[in-house]
Symmetry: C2
Subunit: 199 residues, 2 copies
């Protein structure tokens, strides 16, 4: 067990995570940090309001010391029942999950939990915009894949353990990574909803 | 410090919270539980997908015991940077905060944090549906108030410490409480967006 004081812990953890992660776009930021920076950019420029949901935690014990703030002394990570990111873009509900792999030829399906897939289906039924951002860290390539193209792997195509890169190249949308914001998924969404394609 | 095993802790806490709360609609459920049940009802009936965001927690220490799941041993509550509830209704982004008071004639503004107000403004700019559910527990009355009617209290009307019930009765929408779901806010939203009113 390692202990760091408050805010530093977060920064330190981020550093460790970055070191563990294959450098993204040679800027040394990890995929999640890039997405958060992109969301911050969209928010600052009034283009969309997208937030990452807090990590769900089951709190068991809380200590209330006098004259200092409540301290959680026993808690456990819970599995998320929804996707990680959601928000609003031009009035429409937008929802996505971001995952990365070190594989070079396919994306492992075990990265997704069953209730995330159920959630995506529910959002689709409500006509929300829902997709996944898939990052191949070893290839430095990022794709947007509509949930409607992902879900069949958990239904009709059940039994498959991964999605071939070739399928993602065909059905997905590759995002350019050498610009600001670094994961420009909104441009892609705009193209999709502007055209004939449906989510 | 009191300790309960896993899931029971949550149930026990709920019970304590319920005891502390003035009985809601004489059914003994607290306001938050009523909203969660309403969201569950909407989800089950395919009417909307609305979730409560997890409580934001800053994790400082995590213990990884062998052969058992990770245990968080030091963490603190963080202030939420958005509202508590969000999701999708007929393709549109829907976002709200729920608050209750024991006051009988006005609703205290200190219940809202500044960045929640900023978040509501951002959502409005993106044409999202954003509002608050205000519950007067001593009166057993619940109102939906559009964010656009709340925000001025933090801008032009700055200095006021509460919103008069009379204002809420005029500008807000009272929700019936003797039906299923128990906080039928969607009916109200449908009336607002179906009519001339804007969020």
């Amino acid at each position: 067990m390692v202990k760091y004081p408050g805010g530093i812990a977060i920064a330190r953890k981020q550093q460790i995570k970055q070191l563990k992660t294959v450098k993204f776009g040679k800027r040394g930021m990890n995929f999640e940090a890039e997405i958060n920076a992109t969301n911050e950019y969209y928010l600052m420029h009034g283009l969309a309001v997208i937030h990452k949901k807090p990590t769900p935690v089951q709190i068991v014990k809380v200590d209330y010391p006098k004259r200092s703030r409540a301290k959680i002394t026993e808690a456990y990570f819970r599995q998320a029942s929804t996707t990680d990111y959601s928000g609003v873009y031009q009035g429409r509900y937008l929802d996505f999950e971001a995952k990365e792999t070190q594989n070079k030829t396919s994306f492992p399906l075990k990265n997704f939990h069953e209730h995330q897939i159920v959630h995506m289906e529910n959002v689709l039924k409500q006509e929300g915009i829902v997709f996944v951002l898939l990052h191949f860290s070893a290839l430095s390539r990022t794709f947007l894949l509509k949930a409607s193209d992902l879900i069949p792997f958990f239904k009709e195509k059940e039994g498959q353990k991964s999605i071939a890169l070739a399928f993602i190249e065909t059905k997905g949308y590759e995002l350019p990574t050498n610009q600001l914001p670094s994961i420009p998924y909104l441009d892609c969404i705009q193209k999709i909803i502007g055209g004939d394609s449906h989510f």
